[in-house]
């Protein structure tokens, strides 16, 4: 059973066509990675799923339901969330306020506080920084906050855009473990990553995106063994 199905997708910005003829599946409870070089259209793909780009052709369905016409602001209601790569937090809001923005539409106070507690349990550093302006956080803390915000809606499918970009190498491993833990708790993940080696180690299956098209699709383990892949993407 696929939680997300993308079929024959063309999308881009304005008149610039970036993604062409793209088809991707994410399995229920699966962990799918998309790897590829800079400018391959990875971020565009996630933004397209989240209705932030112009879609010219194709369908995107979530749990069998077409979501191409749902506005970005309503996608988090149906169990989807997205952690963008850059500017993934509101720098002028405090950590608490950022998390509160994660569940804007949630009316019940108990649900909010229980989710808040779960995020604080998962990332204890955020609780310490509770009232601090998010703009003053370190890179790793920002990523934790961004993921934490996304978890505030308790999503079934989480789109992650290069969560480790710009982080110190020592932090990367830890963050990936956190992400993998999300998956083992039953959340489906779609991860876009340039650090292909790391991504392939943790993901179940992976797509290789190049020039706006899917070049290869296989189980992560197989790809990790493929010599061509190693030569192209992992040697960097």
């Amino acid at each position: 059973m696929n939680i997300l199905e993308i079929r024959d997708l063309d999308s881009g910005y304005g008149k610039a066509l970036i993604l062409q003829d793209l088809s991707i599946d994410v399995k229920e409870g699966g962990f799918t990675a998309i790897i590829g070089p800079n400018g391959a259209g990875k971020t565009t793909l996630l933004r397209t799923i989240f209705s932030l780009c112009d879609l010219y052709k194709g369908t995107i369905s979530f749990r069998g339901k077409d979501i191409t016409r749902i506005k970005a602001e309503n996608l988090s209601d149906i169990g989807l969330n997205y952690v963008p790569q850059e500017e993934s937090i509101f720098p002028s809001l405090t950590v608490f306020e950022n998390l509160r923005m994660g569940s804007v539409k949630e009316k019940s106070r108990e649900k909010i506080s229980s989710r808040l507690e779960r995020v604080y349990n998962r990332f204890p550093v955020l609780e310490k920084r509770h009232g601090q302006s998010a703009g003053t956080l370190s890179g790793g803390e920002r990523q934790m906050l961004a993921v934490g915000c996304a978890l505030m809606t308790d999503p079934d499918l989480l789109l992650l855009d290069e969560p480790t970009a710009g982080l110190a190498p020592t932090l990367v491993e830890g963050l990936f473990q956190d992400i993998a833990k999300l998956n083992t708790e039953g959340r489906s993940l779609l991860l876009v990553e340039q650090n292909a080696k790391m991504a392939l180690q943790y993901a179940h299956e992976a797509y290789i995106l190049e020039g706006g098209r899917i070049k290869q699709h296989d189980d992560a383990a197989n790809l990790l063994k493929s010599e061509e892949i190693i030569k192209h993407y992992l040697s960097v």
Partner: protein, 319 residues
């Protein structure tokens, strides 16, 4: 040679200096009361919607005229007329946003295009007001009172009320921004509109609320300007660049800066009127704006340091 300059008061005696200070304090505060709230409203509008709305001056005019309509035609007390005007002006702002600006913002045109469009919108509002009321000036129907000396101040009772309302409303807006959900939403949308969408914030709603607040503040400013002077179709347009001066002095997207900028600009204007030449009052606000743009474009509350090198740096710059 220059007769205009003959009007320059010379305060040589101790007494004169005291009176000049009294003038500066009183008039400065009154000018501040007319500028602060529209400046704050314009600041919020720019902060959230990210473009300069040149129709804002004419929305100030519309606010004053709507209150005038209530006050003169329907014989409503000025206080209640002000409240009704706030509501109607807010409606006007929302209407303009939905009809004109929303579609353009969704088409992702640049801030400059929106600025040019707002110019056209302002032209329309100003001339609709002109058709409705004609070019002559109007006054609110308020009781005429003499000003009294109160310590270092010289105010009429109405003016004291105006200054108090101004300060209280400004504090209210600050508290709203800091502690309410709407304030958080506005700050979040201002920080990053597309992330706000991802987080499930309906930024369209935030824009709507922002316009309600901004136009409500514009209405208060328009009524205050009318209470101090007269009400005429060009009043807001004349005030617009002064409002921008207030914003730029304080830092364009900083609400506290907008109010402090209004304070500084108001005092600079009145000081110019007292010590230099009354006709150059408005020019002093513009010059202050250029000076700030020259040394610290982000305003006095901006993060960057004062850049004196800009004065001469351009001569050497090679890239």
């Amino acid at each position: 040679m220059n007769r205009g300059r003959k009007t320059r008061p010379r305060h040589s005696s101790q007494d004169g200096v005291y009176f000049a200070m009294e003038d500066l304090l009183s008039y400065g505060l009154l000018t501040f009361a007319t500028l602060a709230l529209p400046s704050l409203g314009l600041c919020l509008a720019i902060k959230v919607t990210k473009y300069f709305n040149l129709a804002y001056g004419d929305i100030v005019t519309a606010g004053a005229f709507l209150a005038l309509l209530m006050n003169l035609s329907f014989k409503i007390n000025i206080g209640i007329a002000l409240l009704i005007s706030i509501a109607l002006t807010a409606l006007l702002g929302v209407f303009l946003h939905k009809v004109v600006f929303k579609a353009l913002m969704e088409a992702k045109v640049g801030p400059l295009t929106l600025l040019v469009v707002s110019l056209g919108v302002g032209l329309v509002i100003r001339n609709v007001v002109l058709i409705g009321w004609g070019p002559q000036p109007y006054q609110f129907n308020t009781p005429l009172t003499r000003a009294k000396h109160l310590g270092p101040f010289f105010f009429t009772p109405n003016q004291i009320v105006m200054i108090l309302i101004c300060i209280l409303v400004a504090i209210g807006i600050f508290l709203m921004l800091r502690y309410t959900q709407l304030g958080r939403l506005m700050r979040a949308t201002s920080d990053n509109p597309s992330l706000s969408l991802i987080r499930g914030i309906s930024i369209e709603k935030v824009y709507t609320y922002t316009w309600i607040i901004a136009c409500g503040l514009a209405a208060i400013g328009g009524v205050f300007m009318g209470m101090l002077g007269t009400i005429k179709p060009g009043m807001g347009e004349e005030a617009l660049v002064t409002l921008f001066a207030c914003l730029i002095v304080g830092g364009i997207e900083n609400p506290y800066g907008a109010v402090v900028g209004a304070l500084i600009t108001a005092f600079a204007m009145e000081a110019t009127a007292i010590w230099i030449s009354p006709p150059y009052k408005v020019v002093s606000a513009y010059l202050l704006m250029f000076f700030i743009l020259l040394i610290k474009p982000s305003g006095i509350f901006g993060r960057e340091k004062i850049q004196w090198k800009y004065f001469l740096g351009f001569l050497r710059s090679r890239q």
